[in-house]
Symmetry: C3
Subunit: 349 residues, 3 copies
Amino acid sequence: VAGAVGGRVVGDPATRLRGIETLDRAAPEDLSWVADDRHARAASESRAGALLVSAEPVAGGRPAVVVTNPTLAFAIWLDRIRPRPRPRPGVSPRAHVARGARIGKGVSVGPGATIAAGARVGARTIVGPGAHVAEGVEIGEDSWIHANASILAGTRIGARCMIHSGAVIGSDGFGFVWDGLAHRKIPQVGRVRIEDDVEIGANTTIDRATLGETVVGRGARIDNLVQIAHNVVIGENAVVCGLVGIAGSSKIGARATLAGQVGISDHVTIGEGAILTGQAGVPVGGRVPPGAVLSGMPAAPHRNFLRSAAVLARLPDLARRLDRLERRVEEAAAAGKGGEPWSSESRRS
Amino acid sequence: VAGAVGGRVVGDPATRLRGIETLDRAAPEDLSWVADDRHARAASESRAGALLVSAEPVAGGRPAVVVTNPTLAFAIWLDRIRPRPRPRPGVSPRAHVARGARIGKGVSVGPGATIAAGARVGARTIVGPGAHVAEGVEIGEDSWIHANASILAGTRIGARCMIHSGAVIGSDGFGFVWDGLAHRKIPQVGRVRIEDDVEIGANTTIDRATLGETVVGRGARIDNLVQIAHNVVIGENAVVCGLVGIAGSSKIGARATLAGQVGISDHVTIGEGAILTGQAGVPVGGRVPPGAVLSGMPAAPHRNFLRSAAVLARLPDLARRLDRLERRVEEAAAAGKGGEPWSSESRRS
Amino acid sequence: VAGAVGGRVVGDPATRLRGIETLDRAAPEDLSWVADDRHARAASESRAGALLVSAEPVAGGRPAVVVTNPTLAFAIWLDRIRPRPRPRPGVSPRAHVARGARIGKGVSVGPGATIAAGARVGARTIVGPGAHVAEGVEIGEDSWIHANASILAGTRIGARCMIHSGAVIGSDGFGFVWDGLAHRKIPQVGRVRIEDDVEIGANTTIDRATLGETVVGRGARIDNLVQIAHNVVIGENAVVCGLVGIAGSSKIGARATLAGQVGISDHVTIGEGAILTGQAGVPVGGRVPPGAVLSGMPAAPHRNFLRSAAVLARLPDLARRLDRLERRVEEAAAAGKGGEPWSSESRRS
């Protein structure tokens, strides 16, 4: 293990392990990992036979491998001991590959998949059962399009991308203009470009640009059921969680994080590394500075949001106190008119 | 009718009915039902020829069947008079069933469906057109996988489940770790287990566990476009409405209800029978006690939320009043310094 | 250009153009358009060779076509110069069309598509790869069902509709009743009816009615990942943006707009032309008057919402000020008891 993850062994290097499990589920034959020093107590209570830790004391005397980042070591080790099964290369006789489509070496195309004319699929890429690759799509090497995903006309997808089941890449942008009688559709003639090493979640939808490109930058991570509208640009290594909606022409900076159900209106700019917490909303044209952490709708600095939320809970009480205070001051004033100093007695009058 | 739903006839038992309709649409040939005594007025105005009611007076003299739960009686009766059409058993010649897949008696597999090696499909289960059942999936008896749903590798689905169109069960969890240069994917090697009698809505996504299982308990009802992350556990008979997102490792108690667009962060525990109202949000690590009714983001007891919301609407007015009061007290204090009692006159100075 | 879009030429009518681009990306060979007079500055800085404008001065001396609505002119012109490629008519040998399905003249059915018995598909309609058209579905002329969409049993779709990829039309409504031991499913025997000229976004879900119909009115525009529950009625030309959820039996008025992530509870009525801004929520049974503009959850008039949100940000400060004022008044009162006038000195006592 230590060799594979680049760590230092502490304790008996001959310990034999069978599997890998979370701290609370690990048995004496299992390796586990301590993601964070806050889990030190869970680590001490774990039955795990060995641990991946960031510092020797966390292991509490058990055999361990000390690494800079235990979660990273866990990911590397898990990938090694339980590599993902891959379908065999080859085109299923039940798939439909149009003449004029160019399929790289070692590509796997599942039953029911359809690849249209003019599409190019890079070497070793997998197109799952029922997936659709439309006219003029280009997909790089070593990518994986899962079952029933739809990659629509003209989309570009880089190398080593993973597009999960049911995702729709390249649907029309939501653009129309009222002509006095009806909404007239604005043709959506741009495309979607997804750079290398991107992961797109199940049933996520990414609309093509009206003109130009909708872009998902290299290394970005998009979760399930996310809506990305026309002409949006997602920066490199950005993280977009489930059920987030990003409206037209907004820009998400590199390494920014949008937590679950965040809503970004159109023409918004989110700075690099900024964080929007769950359900936060940014109104039309908003600009979030790099590194900011915002919450709520409309989004405000997270600390202010927490403070306001705490006060909000006792708002009815504040309102009552204000009423009372006004009455009291009023009464005092009335009493004062008659020459009386303002006093608690005056409240009885 | 009375025999089928277990009720007591009131009025003419020879009344002949043609259909079943809601109170406002029912004609004299139709049966209708009074879901709730609050609908008594709608019942009295309805043209329905007969009614399912919980008490005789509600029927207002019309022929009726008195039952404990009229909506339940309606469901039973509707199921009887309009049974769902089912596709004929058999594997469509346009479906692809891999050698090594085990298909039970009376199973129906639609055109374009694909069933991979190592999958098992229980007796009388239906796999709709274009649906994909991946390697090693096990599905119980009498379940129904609707058109274009994707049941991914290793998923377990119980008996009498209904998985609606476009649902994706077993997609990768959203797990990765920053390695200093990029997000490295944490392999997602667990699975999804769905117990008996569960219904999963259209285009809902349920991610496989990182290790172990993501679980949907017996009898749970999941609506459309719901996102359920890795290692989530949904309790028995829980109800999860449309567009809800539940982040990693959270636990939803038995019979809890999450209304539309609720957001549950990761490592949250929702107690048995608790209710989150529409758009409520529970932050990371939150614990909702059994039976609680919460609203808002961050979620607070529903009554407090309503009170705060009411005050919130007049918050600008409260702020103005506080300004005024401060000025007034300030002025009074200033006047007081000069020996003047604090009075309304002082406001004019 | 002027002829096609019905405008008046200003400047050199012999200007030759190659393409069409947004103001910031246009080159001297490109036409562009000034959507709004607020973009006048961007127009003056644009390198575009010619412009579609609403008034001559906006063109700043460049060749231009003056039209009433430049965005509309852009849409018309774009449609003309870059018409959407359409698949050739004909049924793919890899499609499955059941005997008993009726297919109009000039229909195109892609590979992997399935059309069940009793379905009718109008002339020139396109059914994309992997799409499913179930039993008894009726689709009008010149409609387009994109790849992997599911049109379920009995659904009616009008003429000139566009249903994007992955959409599910006619899934079961989310209806059940507790029978004391379990949720018993209420059969969903109604259908979905979509009128003419409607566009439905990718991975959107529309549930069939319990009894009767779920309706999307003529000309409505529905974005991606929208959830429309059983028995909802969407008015003509209504606009419903991404990730909106509309619960059972609610009615959305004609030309109303629901912005992204809006949540409409059940039995709500939204008046004609009303606007709900992003993430707004309307509680059960709510009634929004025609033309109203509402925000927040629970939804309140937009202006009030903005004012409350502004005050909310300084709520902790208000709370502190109220505390201080109370103390001050209290102290003054205490001092007053002893005959002292209320003064700033008393604070020190």
